[in-house]
Symmetry: C2
Subunit: 124 residues, 2 copies
Amino acid sequence: MEQTDIKKVRLEEKFDLFADRWNPKIVGEINDSYVKLVKLKGEFVWHHHEAEDELFLVVKGSLLIKLRDRDIRLEEGEFVIIPRGVEHLPVADEEAHVLLLEPKTTLNTGEVQNERTVAVLERI
Amino acid sequence: MEQTDIKKVRLEEKFDLFADRWNPKIVGEINDSYVKLVKLKGEFVWHHHEAEDELFLVVKGSLLIKLRDRDIRLEEGEFVIIPRGVEHLPVADEEAHVLLLEPKTTLNTGEVQNERTVAVLERI
């Protein structure tokens, strides 16, 4: 990569570029992973990722991550790493702005493929 | 990993746990990478990482990343990914709190080994 391609990313500015929910955008590429931003509101689908750990960092709002045995509530400035194989269900009562970090191979709905699946992600 | 091992991380709380600078602490493990927190003040050493991209996210304060051809100033809520092979020099006039993401194999001083090198990182 040319040094001139190195650009900083201002999270707030990137979140201002889109309004759609549950549709992660790529904002960075690091080793074998993408940094993604997503706006969430409502309930997603239960899923897991067979071979990939996934990081959720709340940038704005509040996010509930349901696990099968308990819930984890994330507020602004908090993150959690959901290890591979662990079923989870993200839920946001109000719109939450979330930074995701996960391998390039990760599909948002994990092992589930349905109308919530976004196979090709936009870069912003 | 057992589901009971999944713990959220509150960044502010973790930064309160240490005061030493230039000594990254591991706060998360994700795939082949660590999430680390570090407090920086002053100037580091010019270095690069041969095979590893490195992410710097400023959580508090301001961080200057000098490249050989220009400078990138990061404020709170901004990140940059320094691609493998690119020489960089982090500089902080005032103490900055920074989240790092990099492969487990990454040494803080890259190809340089000197008194600033921290080979074994603490987990907090």
